[in-house]
Symmetry: C2
Subunit: 65 residues, 2 copies
DNA sequence: TACAAATGTCAAGCTAGCTTTACTTTTATT
DNA sequence: AATAAAAGTAAAGCTAGCTTGACATTTGTA
């Protein structure tokens, strides 16, 4: 899974800390997601989509398997 | 999170076992999801959406929190 | 009504997603 | 160049999502 989290965060002028707070997760989680270290839970994906006014599919890109 | 998995499964004439195989998970996982015992991983949500030709948002309904 | 297929329950174990804490490196501004 | 803010790294611990296996119940149909 790829994602455009960092791009969206910067486009919206947020720091990692600010984004973490808005999504109610730790800054570590933001870092890990931006770096593709692991995938978000579906709850976090929903919260992220809602925050940026996009669909999950627009933010998190599933690579076929 | 609510979901319409069971409805989709029956509408498409699948048993839990068949759906499990198509989604490459165990039958237990299908049961647990249908019963709302836990949420799917985002990967499983993507696979499910792809299988039924719907979006994640159409199958899994996030209840605000 | 017997039998098989489908569904459900229980429990123990593994790993991915997330947390916290503490420290280092990079980037920007003065 | 000094400082502070932002971003990155590392590691240990917790829990949700998933697995396997064994057994019980429900449903459908011969």
């Amino acid at each position: 899974m790829k994602n455009i989290l960092e791009e969206l965060r910067i486009k919206n002028g947020f720091t990692q800390q600010e984004l973490a707070e808005k999504l109610e997760v730790s800054r570590q989680t933001i870092i890990s997601l931006e770096q593709g270290r692991y995938n978000p839970s579906i709850i976090l994906a929903f919260k992220t989509a809602r925050l940026f006014g996009l669909t999950i599919e627009e933010i998190f890109i599933y690579e076929e398997g």
